[in-house]
Subunit: 196 residues, 2 copies
Amino acid sequence: MSKPSRATPEARRLDLIAATARVLASHGAGGASVRTIATEAGVSPGLVTHHFGGVARLVEATYDHVAAQVAQALEAAVARAGDDPRARLAAYVEASFAPPIADAALLATWIAFWSMARADAAMAASHARHYAGYRARLEALLAACGVAPARCRLAAVGVAALVDGLWLELCLSSGTFDAAEARALTGDYLAMLVAG
Amino acid sequence: MSKPSRATPEARRLDLIAATARVLASHGAGGASVRTIATEAGVSPGLVTHHFGGVARLVEATYDHVAAQVAQALEAAVARAGDDPRARLAAYVEASFAPPIADAALLATWIAFWSMARADAAMAASHARHYAGYRARLEALLAACGVAPARCRLAAVGVAALVDGLWLELCLSSGTFDAAEARALTGDYLAMLVAG
DNA sequence: TTGCGTGTTGCACGATCGTATAATAACGCT
DNA sequence: AGCGTTATTATACGATCGTGCAACACGCAA
């Protein structure tokens, strides 16, 4: 416990970010204290201040890291789907209902970020940036399926909302429906958008 | 400041619940401390323990109260819509995009509750109860529109998800779309469900 | 091997947290 | 009018919060 183990700043920062994500997932936003995070990472509380200059900055870095991982997982699903535009769009949407996206711990992390975005302007900016990228990717995939350019923006808003709502309830109160039903619902909705 | 003003327990409880809702909306879940709530209500911090036996119980009571107000507002919109089943369903859905539901403060309150539901079993139970009622009402309105009974459950899940997702983004990052566009999106979705 | 830079620890500090408790004051009842 | 009930306040207590700081120790250069 008391033996210092020296690490490169970059590696230590990633350790702390990973520990913050675990704490956020298990204890919620209220339990994300400097001491809890430091204990989870197996280091001293002072390291948070030393590497990030405060717990707020650490949480913000964790959000950016987790959001990048989510975007990467969705992109990997698209790449795995091949070349058919319809299949790529479906893969991007349905990836939200499978691991590692459809995870109660990830939902808890996300909710913690939402609850902090109200008080922290930097967090709100990070959130807006991430969601804009998400919708932009959705618009591009819809356009590739032949959706009229004039309707792409609103269609992306609808798809994003449906996916978010399904993902939220799927993780929050699982039991009322399952991932297969979520895929069926989004499949019908996408079919309507692409056809009409 | 130091003059005690006696009130009936019921009235005082409602005062504290209203103050908690205001604090949750303005300061978020993290700022909902006993002292902040008591100051907002203009009373002493000890009253929270006296009337609710702890801040956790007060927050839970606030959730039930706010959820009941939301349900009542949605029900009022249905009653105002008249007798046509399609109009009643549309009114129930579109009420979420108008005051007093489409409100940034209400969203902040809701997010605060979500963030607490992870750690508090009683809050999770209250949330599950409220959402089950919401979906059940939606199922009944869909059935009245002629949706096949076998499809009502899943259709209600989809509508609830779409509405929740639109409501969330409408309040959280307003600017990407407006309430009229949200109504257009849900209108198309409902038309698809009722027709097919 | 010696010395310097710095990652790391352990602790102290003030602020704030939730709650218990004794004193006070207002209301209903006889 | 006097009294009991209890809503209310003020205060105290221990725990925990975020952060600043001085000492320590590990790795690398000379």
